[in-house]
């Protein structure tokens, strides 16, 4: 028996045993926290075979350390201090960085205190198998624990603690390995303190502790070339101050301290919001804040003050007389900053810098001077950044910034990386691999942005592959939109039914061991069919309809019963919640659920029994709802149609079978439902949707682009899905008024439409009534141009752009009168019909299942805050997925255009020309929309034109006389895909052909 003794520790030791600190709570109270500390003598050092410390350590540090480093031939262990982890996490995480690391508790705690995301990365790192890391609890070992001296600041105390621990390790190693008589004494490995703080190093050397800076250490490693690139820019400065560092002038104003910012925001004098860069003009950005109707405009580099897209910034608003209107010019950073030299950009004094600033100030002053005051927006400047939203960005290396392009050259070069996204500034980085990285898509992280540097500084993370190779493009797309695309892990796959694809609905009765049939309705005999786009594998809905004896019609919507397989709170559920939605790219699909479920077990395939969640209505022939019920069921679909097949079948008068008749029945109901919806004021919105024709499944080379065709049957399915969603929304809101998962579409603020209304009035003499969704629908209907059928669609697209996006929310979180769905003109709405590809639907399924008493509601769905948190993620993922999908289409449109251009050349034709509509006018160009390809483009003129901002027209000199182009005019553009010479970024270039040829302009 182990003898347990509890010794009461005398209060006189309080200084050692108690750690006291103050905490300020969110409500502004100050709380004193006390931590008791027990010092022990048996905290193990973690070195293999240490005779003092316990030997049963699963993954000890090697006995003789690592002897691969040239500075420490006797072997060494690395002991990094806090700042190394804060600044150089990418380096430590690299798989090439393998020395045995001793991680001190002091360091872990400091990292956690300073940055939670880095702390999480550090934690993950300690668990990873390819690293040899030992966590040493130095604050608990009696020899290494230290007490804060009087007037010692916490930072110094921690540094001292780290030094003491390093020194202890060195003595510990020499004490536990005494010389053995008769044997040659082998030299002991050293513990090397790694720190960037020169003063700390000095103190360490004084007390006999070996120390090294990060750069010096990495330079001595065998993969130094590759690793040095991973060094965050932070590190390079202190050791080898760059030539002009001292003489550098600050280009940007300093940020205010964070506490001041928060105080200012609290007092309402400063405003906090997300920074949005302007994609047309890199010198302009905006920050939407609640205090103003319009977002705060930030004009010019100094006022944007190093904010990067997505950062949460704090803005100071200028007095009203200094407010400006957004510029009406396209300012491309590549054009303006072409000659900026990466090596020394940032020094205001040099020629280049001057040139740049002159150019930029010309751009800024040229615009916005003669703008009507109505267009003025609150204008301000960024005074601080609350939270950086930096991540890894997909970039290209700008080849003009290279000094040497020899692939054999291994000298460090400072180069520019241009992010793929136009919203981001160029990033400066130092790399030895620059020549190799040309023509590649690479991942770059921003490390910092100093007030003295025009560009942010970053470091290279990894290469994705050659430009325009599909793999690289696809991965970069997923990375750019933060889509989690890794394959599902084992823990997740373990949640699938053990039978795998052999799983079937068990026969009713005694063989049903899992009791799957309990309270399930047997709808196997009902004539159910599914209608989906061609090639659809994840069929999540199916329909049926039949005449009832009383003359009414029974219609049913059957949705895959995903919640039967995805149980709350298991790894698969958490993963699905984190993914939020399935992402559809042109040639790929990133699933939310493992494909066994998505495309097999949950997919309502024909001729097999599948579990479903059914919503069954009794409707009058005029599509009035008599009653609705929801039930879990088992169905057996009789057919899986494409929209086209279903349409043909319906239209074929010779077919009189039950299946066809039920489609006809559904269709007649759908037409009435739609009419009712439209009468209630639903909007018929348009978005440019195109379809990419892929050559074959294997090569997936696009050959053509066409606009998506909409058939009657599309509308059929849509109407019944809407009906199901609305009915379910009502039911779950009734049952769970606090936590029901709903979807809403807020009415857009009137100001959003101002510009469109103005354009329509001035160019076409049309007016748009935006007072309600019904009024808007009606006035959109009369927005027609007899000569131009596409005009109406164009206006609809533009009106759609003015609206807010729909979002999921928890019913208890917002006021009940804001539940409405503006676009659908429904008082309440949710998503129920696609649980395979949307996580919100899974939650709705669970709630509905609880509402009908089928299963109890999981505890997490009773918690408002939990539901809110999940839905926040889902909303964000949803947005990102849409953008990724769009970007993927754009990429393929580009490829298709290129292919078409080449074919045209083969045939001896000039090039691709398409009709386009002008949607925006700038001082030096026009924005056009090519409806046939569903892409937007920009035509810029080099020469100045007459620009009339009031009337949205631009006058360009033509061959004979000047031509006036206004918004909504039809033009013909020549479309080429050209590679940007510098960045290898594929770019759709458009030039005007008619009414004027703009290539000379």
């Amino acid at each position: 028996m182990v003898e347990i003794t509890i010794r009461k520790r005398p209060r006189t030791e309080a200084v050692i045993t108690q750690r006291k600190f103050f905490k300020k709570t969110a409500r502004g109270k100050v709380v004193k926290v006390l931590r008791e500390r027990y010092l022990r003598d048996d905290v193990a050092c973690g070195i293999q075979g240490c005779r003092e410390c316990s030997t049963e350590i699963p993954e000890p540090l090697p006995f003789s350390g690592s002897s691969e480093h040239q500075l420490y031939p006797n072997g060494h262990y690395l002991l990094p201090d806090t700042n190394v982890f804060l600044a150089q996490m990418d380096l430590i995480e690299s798989s090439l960085f393998t020395p045995p690391i001793i991680l001190l508790q002091t360091v872990i705690e400091e990292v956690r205190h300073r940055s939670l995301p880095l702390y999480n990365r550090l934690k993950a790192l300690t668990k990873s198998e390819d690293k040899s890391i030992w966590i040493f609890y130095n604050e608990y070992r009696s020899e290494t624990a230290i007490v804060r001296e009087e007037n010692e600041i916490p930072n110094d105390r921690n540094d001292r603690g780290i030094r003491v621990a390093t020194a202890w390790y060195n003595t510990h190693i020499s004490l536990t390995r005494p010389p053995i008589r008769g044997q040659k004494q082998t030299p002991h490995p050293t513990v090397v303190l790694m720190t960037e703080d020169a003063a700390n190093r000095e103190k360490a050397e004084k007390s006999g502790v070996t120390s090294s800076s990060v750069r010096k250490y990495v330079e001595g490693m065998k993969d130094a070339n590759l690793l040095l690139d991973l060094l965050a820019a932070d590190g390079s400065q202190e050791i080898e101050p760059t030539k002009a560092a001292s003489g550098r002038q600050a280009l940007y104003p300093d940020y205010l301290p964070i506490s001041t910012l928060l105080a200012g925001v609290k007092a309402g004098e400063l405003h906090q919001g997300h920074f949005n860069a302007n994609q047309y003009n890199y010198l302009e950005g905006s920050v939407p804040v609640p205090a103003f109707d319009k977002p705060i405009l930030l004009v010019g580099r100094e006022n944007m003050n190093r904010a990067v897209q997505g950062d949460i910034v704090v803005v100071e608003v200028f007095p009203e007389k200094e407010w400006k209107a957004p510029a009406d010019e396209v300012v491309d950073q590549e054009a303006t900053l072409k000659n900026d030299d990466a090596e020394d950009s940032g020094e205001e004094g040099d020629e280049n810098g001057e040139e740049v600033s002159v150019k930029e100030s010309r751009v800024l002053s040229g615009s916005s001077s003669q703008k009507p005051p109505s267009e003025r927006q609150p204008t301000g400047r960024v005074v601080g950044v609350v939270k950086r939203n930096w991540r890894a960005y997909v970039c290209h290396i700008d080849n003009t910034s290279l000094t040497s392009t020899l692939t054999t050259s291994l000298s460090t070069q400072t180069v520019f990386a241009t992010p793929v996204s136009r919203l981001l500034p160029r990033i400066r980085l130092r790399t030895r691999q620059a020549p190799i990285l040309l023509n590649q898509k690479i991942l770059v992280t921003i490390d910092r942005w100093d007030a003295t540097s025009r560009y942010p500084e970053g470091h290279f993370v990894r290469a994705l592959g050659r430009v325009e190779s599909k793999e690289a493009e696809q991965e970069s797309l997923l990375l750019e939109f933060e889509v989690p695309y890794r394959p599902f892990g084992k823990a997740i796959l373990d949640c699938l039914p053990p039978e795998g694809d052999q799983w079937v609905v068990p026969p009713k009765g005694e063989f049903d061991v899992q009791n799957i049939w309990r309270e399930r309705e047997d709808l196997r005999d009902v004539i159910v069919c599914s209608i989906d786009p061609p090639g659809c594998q994840d069929i999540d809905d199916a329909l049926h309809a039949k005449l009832l004896p009383n003359g009414n019609i029974e219609a049913g919507v059957h949705i895959a019963d995903v919640s039967h397989f995805v149980l709350p709170d298991n790894p698969m559920d958490s993963e699905a919640a984190a993914r939020g939605t399935t992402v559809y790219l042109v040639d790929n699909r990133i699933d939310m659920l493992p494909s066994l479920l998505g495309t097999n077990l949950c997919s309502l395939r024909p001729f097999v029994e599948r579990l479903a969640f059914s919503s069954i209505w009794e409707l009058t022939p005029d599509a009035e709802i008599v009653s609705v019920r929801f039930t879990k069921s088992v169905i057996k679909s009789k057919a899986a149609f494409t929209y086209e097949e279903a349409q043909i079948r319906k239209d074929d008068p010779n077919l009189q079978d039950d299946l066809t008749n039920s489609i006809r029945l559904l269709n007649s109901l759908a037409i009435k439902l739609k009419a009712k919806r439209m009468a209630a004021g639903a909007l018929n919105l348009a978005s440019p949707e195109v379809k990419i024709h892929l050559d074959s499944a294997e090569s997936s080379d696009p050959i053509d682009v066409e606009q998506k065709e909409l058939r009657e049957t599309n509308s059929l399915v849509e109407e019944f899905m809407l009906l199901a969603n609305i009915s379910v929304a009502k039911k779950i809101e009734e049952s769970f008024p606090q936590t029901a998962v709903l979807r809403r579409h807020l009415p857009p603020p009137k100001t959003n439409f101002e510009k469109l209304q103005d354009i329509l009035r001035k160019t076409k003499g049309l007016s748009l009534d935006v007072s309600s969704s019904g009024a808007l629908a009606a006035s959109l209907d009369i927005c027609v141009d007899a000569n131009e059928p596409a005009f109406n669609t164009l206006v609809r697209i533009m009106a759609t752009r003015c609206m807010l996006s729909a979002e999921y929310f928890s019913s208890g979180s917002v006021a009940k009168n804001t539940f409405g769905h503006y676009g659908l003109a429904s008082k309440i709405y949710t998503h129920f019909t696609s649980p395979i590809r949307r996580y919100a639907d899974v939650l709705v399924h669970r709630q509905l299942s609880a509402a009908i008493g089928f299963t109890p509601l999981h505890a997490t769905l009773h918690s408002k805050s939990h539901v809110e948190r999940v839905l926040d993620v889902v909303n964000r993922r949803h947005r990102m997925a849409q953008m990724a999908g769009r970007a993927s289409v754009e990429f393929y449109v580009g490829l298709a255009l290129k292919a078409r251009g080449e074919q045209a050349k083969v045939r001896g034709e000039a090039d691709v020309k398409e009709e386009a509509f002008v949607i925006r006018t700038f001082r030096n160009g026009v924005g056009v929309f090519v409806s046939k390809l569903g892409i937007e483009g920009l035509v810029t003129f080099k020469r100045d034109t007459q620009f009339d901002a009031e009337n949205y027209t631009i006058t360009v000199p033509g061959a004979k006389k000047d031509v006036k182009i206004s918004v909504f005019d039809k033009v013909i553009v020549r479309i080429e895909v050209e590679k940007d010479k510098n960045t290898q970024r594929g770019k759709v270039k458009m030039t005007l052909v008619e009414p004027v040829d703009s290539s000379a302009l």
């Binding site: 209060r11 006189t12 030791e13 309080a14 200084v15 050692i16 108690q18 006291k20 600190f21 103050f22 905490k23 300020k24 502004g28 109270k29 100050v30 004193k32 006390l34 009696s142 020899e143 007490v147 804060r148 001296e149 009087e150 600041i153 916490p154 105390r157 205010l256 301290p257 506490s259 001041t260 910012l261 928060l262 105080a263 200012g264 609290k266 007092a267 004098e269 400063l270 100071e316 200028f318 007095p319 007389k321 200094e322």
Partner: protein
């Protein structure tokens, strides 16, 4: 306390002993001797300052004696429109029922109330108010809660309470705060108009320059903070127990019961020699002539003086023990 019931015979025996020459007390002390006082500061680590004091505790088995725990807790308080600036002090005395087993709960409440009133009125007097209880002028300040708990009463409760209060307040550390504010840069306002507004007036009437600080932060969360300003000023009290012409100090319960009146004098020492009377209270039913009172106050002054100096010495010793000595001891063990 007065409610300890003793018989007339006992009473007269005790009185006779006190009046005898040389005076005789049950525990052999002379008239102006104190029982052993033990004091420890910082016994409650979660408070901002604390002290544990006992008078007359048996050093061998720790039994008996008057026992008091005092603790100071600082709370952040938002200042309302009319409230005074610079913090408040609130004292509260609670008596454990086990200290007064013979009292009904109503009587215990009354006693607590009486003790609280005496302490609160004396300690929250503006002349003693420490200057560093303000966090943000006109916005936030510290509310100092001084709680005293009587766990045992063996006489001389007032002296003990004041001593414990002084020790706890002496021990109190106010967390350092830094007010944060946002000042809009001058350039904005001055550049916008050519009207010459006098910008740098330093007139006290200029209320426009009210600081905009709305919040504060803790610059160093490990630091216990700075000591309470003017901690030397906290008063000491002496109870003179009056029997006929003589007075004696540190009465036990029986002795208290046998003397008809007591005089409580509270002195604050700005300098070691000239005390200020912070409070004075006559307890009991007997009359007292002005002349006698004058003499008594003079006597009291010499008593508080010794008490003040020995208490201060002990408190400084405690500070030393808890910081330097402990650290040295920690250094040695390695």
């Amino acid at each position: 306390m007065a409610s300890t019931s003793i018989s007339k015979a006992e009473k007269s025996y005790i009185q006779a002993g006190l009046l005898a020459n040389p005076p005789r007390r049950a525990d052999g002390r002379s008239l102006h001797d104190f029982r052993v006082i033990s004091l420890e500061t910082g016994f409650a680590p979660l408070s901002n300052g604390s002290a544990h004091l006992s008078i007359g505790r048996n050093p061998h088995n720790g039994s008996g004696g008057t026992d008091i725990m005092a603790s100071v807790k600082l709370e952040v308080e938002s200042i309302e429109e009319d409230a005074s600036d610079g913090g408040r002090i609130v004292c509260n005395v609670s008596c454990s029922p086990s200290a007064y087993p013979h009292l009904t709960s109503g009587a215990l409440d009354d006693l607590q109330y009486d003790l609280t009133t005496v302490l609160h009125q004396t300690l929250s007097h503006p002349s003693l108010h420490p200057k560093n209880l303000s966090i943000i002028p006109r916005k936030k300040s510290w509310l100092l809660n001084l709680d005293l708990l009587v766990t045992a009463d063996a006489g001389n409760i007032y002296d003990a309470l004041f001593m414990a209060a002084r020790a706890a307040l002496w021990d109190t550390k106010v967390p350092r705060t830094r007010s944060v504010e946002y000042k809009s840069p001058k350039s904005l306002s001055s550049a916008s108009g050519d009207m010459d507004v006098d910008q740098d007036t330093t007139s006290g009437f200029d209320t426009r320059k009210v600081a905009h600080a709305t919040d504060f932060e803790l610059p160093d969360y490990w630091d216990e903070g700075e000591i309470l300003e003017g901690r030397e000023r906290w008063p000491v009290a002496i109870t003179l127990n009056l029997v006929k012409t003589i007075h004696f100090l540190d009465a036990t319960l029986q002795e208290e019961a046998s003397c008809a009146s007591r005089l409580l004098v509270v002195h604050s020492y700005e300098s070691p020699t000239s005390p200020t009377v912070q409070s004075m209270r006559m307890l009991g039913s007997e009359e007292l002539s002005i002349l006698h009172l004058k003499n008594l106050i003079k006597e009291a002054e010499s008593h508080t003086n010794t008490m003040f100096s020995s208490l201060t010495a002990k408190l400084e010793d405690e500070d030393f023990r808890r910081n330097q000595k402990a650290r040295e001891r920690f250094g040695k063990r390695r």
